[in-house]
C-alpha cells in the first residue's frame, strides 16, 4: 500500500510507521524530569508494583507525543496538525517496543483548505493497540 504524504493523501494510504527501540527508564526519567511529571510509577519499579502495575509504565503524555510524532514526520513544511485525540486502552511498560502507525480515513475541503483525517495508534507485541486516536491535518499544497 502507498505510504502517505499528506499533500498526496488518499483514503486507505498508510503513514510511514515509526518503530522505536525498547522503552528505557533513562528515557522516562528524561521525559519526566524535563516535563516536571513526578508520579513515581513512571520511574520507580517498586512504587509502580506497589500501586498494582506490573512494572514502570510509560506516561500517557509521552504516548500521545508518539502519535503526534507519527503525524508530524509525514507533514510537508507548510502542513499543520490541527487536532489530535488519544484514548489509552492498554498499558505500555518499560522494555516494550512501541510502533506507531496510521491510516488516512477521510479527506475534504473546507473554506478552500484541504483537510486530511487519519486514524492513528500505538501498538506493542504485548498490549496490541494500546493507544488509539484521530489526527486532522490541514495541507498547504501550494
Amino acid at each position: 500500500m502507498t505510504e502517505a504524504r499528506f499533500d498526496l493523501a488518499k483514503v486507505g494510504d498508510e503513514l510511514p510507521a515509526v518503530r522505536r527501540p525498547p522503552l528505557t527508564i533513562t528515557q522516562l526519567v528524561m521525559y519526566c524530569g524535563g516535563m516536571r511529571i513526578f508520579d513515581p510509577i513512571h520511574f520507580s519499579p517498586e512504587i509502580a508494583r506497589a500501586n498494582g502495575f506490573p512494572d514502570v509504565i510509560a506516561n500517557g503524555s509521552m504516548r500521545v507525543a508518539f502519535l503526534a510524532q507519527l503525524v508530524t514526520e509525514s507533514l510537508g513544511p507548510a502542513d499543520f496538525l490541527r487536532s489530535l485525540t488519544c484514548r489509552h486502552r492498554g498499558m505500555i511498560l518499560i522494555g516494550d517496543e512501541v510502533v506507531s502507525r496510521g491510516r488516512i480515513v477521510r479527506t475534504w475541503i473546507e473554506a478552500g483548505v484541504v483537510h486530511v483525517e487519519a486514524e492513528v495508534w500505538n501498538e506493542t507485541a504485548r498490549a496490541g493497540r494500546a493507544d488509539v486516536g484521530i489526527a486532522v491535518v490541514t495541507v498547504n499544497s501550494q
Partner: protein, 147 residues
C-alpha cells in the same frame, strides 16, 4: 465545582532546553522549523509540548503518587486520554500562558465499581492573548465510596 480554575493562568517561556529533553526522550527529529512574521526561520516545538506548560504541585519529601485534581474523596488516577486542538505552531523562545479549568465531573459504573470521570480543559494563549492550543484531558478515579 465545574468551571473552577484548577491552575491559574501563568506565563511560561518555551525553553529550548526543555524542548531538547522532550525531543530526545520521545525520539522526535529536532528539525521542524517555521517562518516567523519577520521572515526569520525559527524552531517549532513539538505540538504536544503544550501539555507541559502547567504543572501539578508536588512534594519532593515523599515518594508517592499525586492526589486527585479535585477536592473529592477519590482513589488513584488513571489517564483516560486527551483531545488537542491547535490553532498555530508553538515556537521555541516564545512566552505562552496556560490555565486549567474543571470542565466536568461525572460518575460512571465500571467493571470494578464506580468511577469518577474528571475532564479538565487547558487553554494556552500567546502574548497577544490569542489561543494557540487547547486540550481536554480525561482522568478516571476509583471512588472511595466503593469501599
Amino acid at each position: 465545582m465545574v468551571g473552577t480554575v484548577l491552575r491559574a493562568r501563568q506565563s511560561v517561556l518555551v525553553e529550548a532546553a526543555l524542548v531538547d529533553a522532550f525531543e530526545l526522550a520521545v525520539g522526535v527529529k529536532p528539525t521542524t522549523s517555521a517562518v516567523a512574521p519577520d521572515g526569520a526561520e525559527v524552531r517549532r516545538a513539538p505540538p504536544t509540548f503544550v501539555y507541559h506548560l502547567v504543572h501539578r504541585p508536588f512534594d519532593v519529601t515523599r515518594d508517592q503518587r499525586p492526589g486527585p485534581l479535585v477536592d473529592l474523596p477519590l482513589g488513584s488516577p488513571v489517564n483516560g486520554g486527551v483531545e488537542f486542538d491547535f490553532a498555530r505552531p508553538v515556537l521555541v523562545g516564545e512566552v505562552l500562558s496556560a490555565e486549567t479549568v474543571l470542565h466536568s465531573v461525572e460518575p460512571r459504573r465500571g467493571s470494578r465499581g464506580s468511577l469518577a470521570v474528571v475532564i479538565t480543559r487547558t487553554s494556552v494563549c500567546d502574548a497577544a492573548g490569542d489561543e494557540v492550543a487547547c486540550y481536554r484531558h480525561t482522568t478516571l478515579y476509583r471512588r472511595h465510596d466503593n469501599d
